[in-house]
Symmetry: C2
Subunit: 381 residues, 2 copies
C-alpha cells in the first residue's frame, strides 16, 4: 500500500522543454537517461526486443531517436530473469538510445475471455504457452525497471467502449488508482513514467480522466484508447479537443497512431510523440510509404521499374536498389525484401516528422503539411 | 555450330597464381573482373541474387571475397530481361566483388520427370510457374553473360550414378561436347569460364572425363557430382585421387561442399574453391558453426546463456549479442535471428578458410587442421 502521497513525489525524470510553437503544434526537447529526444518524434516499434528484422545500427541509420518495446510481451518472452541477467533491454538488444515501453495494458485487455480484472490487477493466461500470470501496477513497474526503460508507461485498462457508461466510469477510476500505485511503486531515478488518459472519443469522459490524472507527477501523458476502430474524423476531433488540455510542460504521446497523414494532422493538433507498427508491419507485407503516396511493391507495374522506392528519399534502400529488384525479392519471399522495405518505411516516417519539427520552428507547419499531402497523389493506391 | 577450334581459344580471363604449397594444399590468387580472390576460398551462396537476409555490406563484413549465384534460378526469376535492364547482377543486388554463377545443370537434372534431354540441350518445366523452357549450352552462356558473372560455369549433366554405365559414359561424352559449345559461345572478355568434371566416385570415369575436359581452355575446373549422398570417406578418397590430376595452373573448385571439416579435408587434398548452403541454410534453422563445434541455438541450455555464439569469434554477432538473446529471437520467429546466425556462420566459414590459407603459407596446414578439429569437441552435437 502507498505510504506517501504520490502527487508530491515529482521526480522530474524527463525534463521537457518546448522550443518552438506553431498554432497548437510544438517543437520540444525531452531529456532521457539514454539521451535527448527531439519532438515531435516517431518511435519505431520493437515489441519483443527487436524492431523486426533490423539490427540496431540499421535502425539508428534511419534517424530513429527512440524505439518502443512492450513490457507485457517481454515479461512473457524472454521473461524478466533473462532481461535482468543481461542488465536490461538496451544491453540485451544492443540499442543504446532511449527506449519507451508500453505497459501491456492494451495487450492484456485484448485477451478478453482469457483475463480476469480485479482491483488488485489482472490475471490472464498466456495465449501461446497457456501459463497463468497475474499483473499488478506494482509488477508492471518492476518489470519495466528490470527492462530499464527510459520511459515506462503506467498500467491502464483500455476498456471496450461499447460497454455501459457505468462500467467505463468505474474502469477509468480504477485506472487512476492504478496510476497512483505505479507512481508509488517506482524506484529507479533513470526510468521516467508517463500516465495514460482514457475515454475513447467521449470528450466528457476524456476531460474527467485528464482532470484526475494530470495533477499526478507523471513525466508525460499519453492519449490512450484511440486508433482502435473509430472513424478518422472522430480521432482527429478527439485529439484536437484533448491535446491542448494536457499539461503544456509535459510531452504528449498519442499511442498506436498512425498513418503518415495521422502523424501530420495530430502534430498540428498538439501531439509530440507517436508509435505505430504500420511502417514495419506494412513494410514486411510489401507496402511502401513514399513522398508520392503508398506503393504496393508486388504490383506488376514495378516488375521492370528501375526507380528507387521513393525518388525523393535518401535512405540506404533508395540509394542502392530498384523497385524491380525489391519486387523480385518480395515475390520470391526473400528475407532481404522485409529488411529493405522496413528500413525505407521507418526512414520515411522519421524524415516526415523531422520535416514537421523543422517546419514548426519556421512557423510553416500548415504549408509543410499541405505540400506533403499534395505529393501523395502519385502513389499506387 | 562451332566454327573455330575451342581448344585454341584460351582467353586467360582469370589469371591464377599458386603462391604457396603445403603437401597437396595450395595457396593462390585468382584475378577476376571485379577483383582478386585469394584461395583457398569459400563462396557464400546467393541463389536468387541475394545471400538470404543479408545486405551486401553485411556479407562483405564477414570477409567474403566472392559469392555464388545460380544462372538457372536467375534465368527463371527475375529473368534475363530484368537482369539486363539493371546492367547485370552486380548492379542489381549492389555487390561489387566477384560473382560466380553455377550454370544450373545440377538444378535442371534434379527436376527428373519435368525435363527432357537431347543433344541440343534440355527442355523442362519450371516447377513453380509451370512454364516450358529450353536450355542449351549457348543459352546458358548467354544468360551468364547477361548476369555478368566473373566466373561462368559450363552447362553439364550431373547424371544419376545408379544408371547403367553405358548411360553414364554417354552422358559424360555429351557434357564434354556441351563444354566445347560453352567455350565457343562466350563473347565477354570479363567473364571467365570453368569446366565441370563429372564421374561420381568412379575413379575410372572421373579420369576419363578429366582427360577429355582439361585440355580445353577453361579458366578453372570444377569437381561436380560429389556431395550428392555418397559416403564421406568416398568423397574424400575421390577428391584425393582427382584434385592432383586437374591442371596445376588452374583453380580447382569442389562444387556444393560442405561442412567445416569437409572444407579442411579437401583443402588438404588440393581444392581451392568451395561453395555450400550449409552456413546460410543451417543458420536460418538455428544451427551454429563455432570453434567449439556445432550448437543448436534453441537448446534449453542456451536459455540463460550470456556467452556469444562463439567466444573465439570476432564477428558482429559475437561481439554484440548473447546466445540467450539470439535464442529468444529464434524461438519467437524473429527475422533478426536469421540475420545474426547467417552472419556468424558465414564469418565462421570465411575465417576457417582464411586460417587454412595462412597455414599453407607457413607450411603448417596439418597442425592447423588438427588444432581446429580438436576444438570441435565442446559443441552441442
Amino acid at each position: 500500500m502507498p505510504t506517501t502521497d504520490p502527487t508530491k513525489a515529482r521526480f522530474d525524470l524527463a525534463p521537457f522543454e518546448v522550443t518552438a510553437q506553431d498554432g497548437q503544434a510544438r517543437q520540444g526537447r525531452l531529456t532521457l537517461a539514454h539521451g535527448d529526444v527531439h519532438t515531435p518524434v516517431f518511435m519505431p516499434v520493437g515489441t519483443y526486443g527487436t524492431v523486426k528484422g533490423m539490427p540496431p545500427e540499421a535502425i539508428e541509420a534511419t534517424g530513429a531517436q527512440i524505439i518502443l518495446g512492450n513490457a507485457y510481451h517481454l515479461y512473457i518472452r524472454p521473461g524478466l530473469e533473462i532481461l535482468g541477467l543481461h542488465g536490461g533491454l538496451h544491453k540485451m538488444m544492443g540499442w543504446n538510445k532511449p527506449i519507451l515501453t508500453d505497459s501491456g495494458g492494451y495487450q492484456v485487455f485484448s485477451l478478453k475471455e482469457l483475463r480476469k480484472i480485479s482491483e488488485e490487477g489482472v490475471e490472464f493466461r498466456d495465449h501461446k504457452a497457456g501459463d497463468k500470470h497475474k499483473l499488478t501496477p506494482e509488477a508492471i513497474i518492476a518489470a519495466q525497471e528490470v527492462i530499464g526503460s527510459d520511459i515506462m508507461m503506467a498500467f491502464d485498462e483500455c476498456p471496450d467502449l461499447t460497454r455501459p457508461r457505468r462500467y467505463l466510469e468505474a474502469s477509468m477510476a480504477r485506472t487512476t488508482r492504478w496510476a497512483k500505485r505505479c507512481l508509488e511503486a517506482r524506484t529507479r531515478p533513470d526510468c521516467a513514467l508517463f500516465g495514460i488518459t482514457q475515454g475513447g472519443v467521449d470528450l466528457e469522459l476524456r476531460q474527467r480522466h485528464i482532470e484526475e490524472l494530470c495533477p499526478l507527477p507523471f513525466d508525460g501523458f499519453a492519449i490512450g484508447g484511440l486508433s482502435v476502430g473509430e472513424a478518422k474524423s472522430a480521432m482527429y476531433e478527439t485529439v484536437e479537443a484533448v491535446a491542448p488540455t494536457l499539461p503544456a510542460d509535459r510531452p504528449r504521446y498519442l499511442m498506436g497512431v498512425g498513418t503518415p497523414n495521422d502523424l501530420l494532422e495530430c502534430i498540428r493538433r498538439g501531439v509530440d510523440m507517436f508509435d505505430c507498427v504500420l511502417p514495419t508491419r506494412n513494410g514486411r507485407n510489401g507496402q511502401v510509404f513514399t513522398s508520392q503516396g503508398r506503393r504496393i511493391i508486388k504490383h506488376a507495374r514495378h516488375k521492370k521499374d528501375l526507380e528507387p522506392l521513393d525518388p525523393n528519399c535518401d535512405c540506404y534502400t533508395c540509394q542502392n536498389y530498384s523497385r524491380s529488384y525489391i519486387r523480385h525479392l518480395f515475390v520470391n519471399n526473400e528475407m532481404l525484401a522485409g529488411y529493405l522495405l522496413t528500413l525505407h518505411n521507418i526512414h520515411y516516417y522519421i524524415n516526415l516528422v523531422d520535416g514537421a519539427r523543422a517546419a514548426i520552428a519556421a512557423g510553416g507547419l500548415d504549408a509543410y503539411i499541405a505540400r506533403v499531402q499534395a505529393g501523395w497523389e502519385a502513389g499506387d493506391t
